[in-house]
Subunit: 375 residues, 2 copies
């Protein structure tokens, strides 16, 4: 009797309250639960016009300069993985959030939360990697902080990096600017980071080692922002000719995002919702490495929901799409760039995909948490 | 035999290696171990002129503006305590680090690391408090981030705040500027925060509830920076008259620090070392509340080593000391301000104290960790 009650209890759905009154892993997923947390707790408290734009970076004006500010904590597990580690990731992730706003990254702060007992050698390895990534990207680490928590109250080490950059005048990239007819550009293969982490964490072996795509995208973005028409006429966000000099103008790139937690599906859903447009993508154009596709199939994952750490999605005017793709292809981080879809008037707020079978399906935001602690 | 070996092993001092090859709680104390971590791991890796100044904030030049940047993670335990909580503390602490550089605090980023299972109500309470503290201080929260770690891999919640402010031209406050003859000013009672946390954590009860002094010091600092001679002549860091207008000059305040982790002793030791001077303080001038003094005596703590979160130490020219003290006394956070000591040429790099008994003793930096997770 007691046993059957127990098993019945086990079958009962959790009361709705239980998913609302405690923090779940999914609240850190970058998907619907994360969005709820922002909507229900953070936005009402901190409401201000800058925060309400919900971009990956804030752009504020200080003494005439347009300053971009972004912050990210990194709790990735494991600390080291093929293609990177928590140190390089903490640099790349924050640089990318600045770059997606068109900002030139300048400075980083770095704050560590260390767990008592962490081998000093591990810390040294992470610090070395962090330094190398910052040097390679040309950003300066200007200030820092270290806290230590008791054994069992942390997990090795967590890092927060906050980045500061400058946005040139005339560049206005924001997730609420997509317009029907715009094209959706994806800079390369999907899913590498998420699968690399998962494989490392679970001890999965594939024929080849799948490496994280962790990389700093700001030089790719800088190249995109300087792109011109073949004819030499000024084109993009944002360069126009003014007399003898080039000035920035609001241009052909509407917005950029790096599809990290929650994957491309969540990124596109956010843009569709914030711009009040539909987005239709074509399955056959979406680049996924063979081994990543295989791993996803084996694990029951959809590459559209898997995190990337060195990819960008750009929404651009239809006239600019081709020249941008050519420009990006010349950059090492843009070799596999594709136009993967179109912004539509219909299905506002939704993302749909024309599958390789010719059917159309809705691509939702990530619900729950596909892969916790991916970054 | 086995037993006696075991007990002998227990008596053996830990090998020196064991305090060097793993992270200890003391590495987060703000004392000597923290200083070692910075010296041995962080500075060699991230060496650059801004970081090498070892101030609580970096000051960098961006398009002509002097930007102050500071970052702090907060891991205080418990989350709520008399006089504040982790939310208000995360605002005050970062504002104070900006203010100590003479910066006007403008923007904060806020990043949460939540432990799975945290009651949503707890998060809401912290967020509300954080918002209130930011509003009260007139700083804007412009961007944020949330990560979630599995139950047992965190401790409720950790917060990182990174602050950005503007330093007016002419203001140069730095811990390497103290000169023999300068006076040491302390803005009020020592030890309130540390004892409030400890009492709450350990369930200690005193006749009165000891409250944390957690407060934002930027308005007190602003008042100090505007102080003038009685005669109306320009005096301080840094106001001088230039034609019809007042301009900032390098002035009578050499440096300011908020004595948090490691207490006043560690703060003064840092200044003595960075400036290559001695600092001599007078025990009888150091203000400590009766109940805090009693608690310290009971617990075997020295108030000089206990953390404060709403106090500042200023090193000022001898000519400016009196007028500064009068100015500070008019501010609610400066009512108990005192001159507590003098900068000396002798004993360079050391802090000494003339005790109430008339003897002189060395005041070292905090060694080990007196009170872990105080902020």
């Amino acid at each position: 009797m007691a046993d059957s009650l127990k098993s019945l209890a086990g079958l009962t759905c959790p009361a709705p309250l239980s998913t609302r009154d405690r923090v779940l892993l999914g609240h850190g997923s970058g998907g619907t639960l994360s969005a709820e947390l922002v909507r229900d707790i953070f936005l009402p408290a901190f409401e201000n016009p800058t925060l309400a734009q919900l971009n990956d970076q804030a752009v504020v004006r200080v003494n005439g300069s347009r300053l971009a500010i972004t912050t990210d904590s990194f709790v990735v597990n494991p600390l080291f993985f093929p293609g990177g580690d928590i140190g390089s990731l903490a640099v790349h992730g924050t640089i990318n959030d600045l770059a997606m706003g068109g900002a030139q990254p300048l400075f980083l702060s770095v704050a560590f939360i260390l767990e008592e007992g962490l081998p000093m050698q591990t810390l040294q390895r992470v610090v070395d990697s962090l330094k190398r990534a910052a040097n390679d990207a040309g950003v300066q680490i200007v200030t820092g902080d270290t806290k230590v928590v008791e054994k069992g109250k942390g997990d090795g080490l967590f890092i927060n990096t906050t980045g500061i950059g400058i946005v040139p005048e005339g560049i206005e990239l924001s997730a609420d600017r997509a317009k029907p007819g715009d094209k959706v550009i994806l800079s390369g293969f999907l899913g590498d980071h998420g699968i690399a982490i998962l494989a490392q964490r679970e001890g999965l072996e594939f024929e080849t080692t799948i490496e994280s795509d962790s990389a700093a995208l700001h030089t790719l973005v800088a190249q995109m922002l300087k792109t011109k028409h073949d004819g030499g006429a000024p084109l993009l966000a944002g360069i126009a000719r003014s007399g003898n000099s080039e000035v920035c103008t609001s241009g052909a790139i509407r917005c950029m995002r790096d599809p990290t937690r929650g994957g491309v599906s969540s990124t596109l859903n956010e843009i569709a919702q914030q711009s009040g447009v539909g987005i239709e993508i074509e399955e056959e154009t979406i680049p996924v490495r063979e081994d990543v596709r295989g791993a996803c199939e084996m694990l029951g994952l959809d590459p559209l929901y898997v995190a990337n750490e060195g990819k960008l999605v750009a929404i651009v005017t239809p006239e600019a799409a081709d020249v941008l793709v050519s420009t990006m292809r010349q950059h090492p981080l843009g070799r596999e760039v594709r136009v993967i879809g179109t912004v539509t008037e219909k299905n506002a707020g939704m993302v749909t995909m024309r599958t390789t079978l010719g059917t159309t399906r809705i691509v939702d935001m990530l619900a729950g948490d596909q892969l916790p602690r991916i970054c």
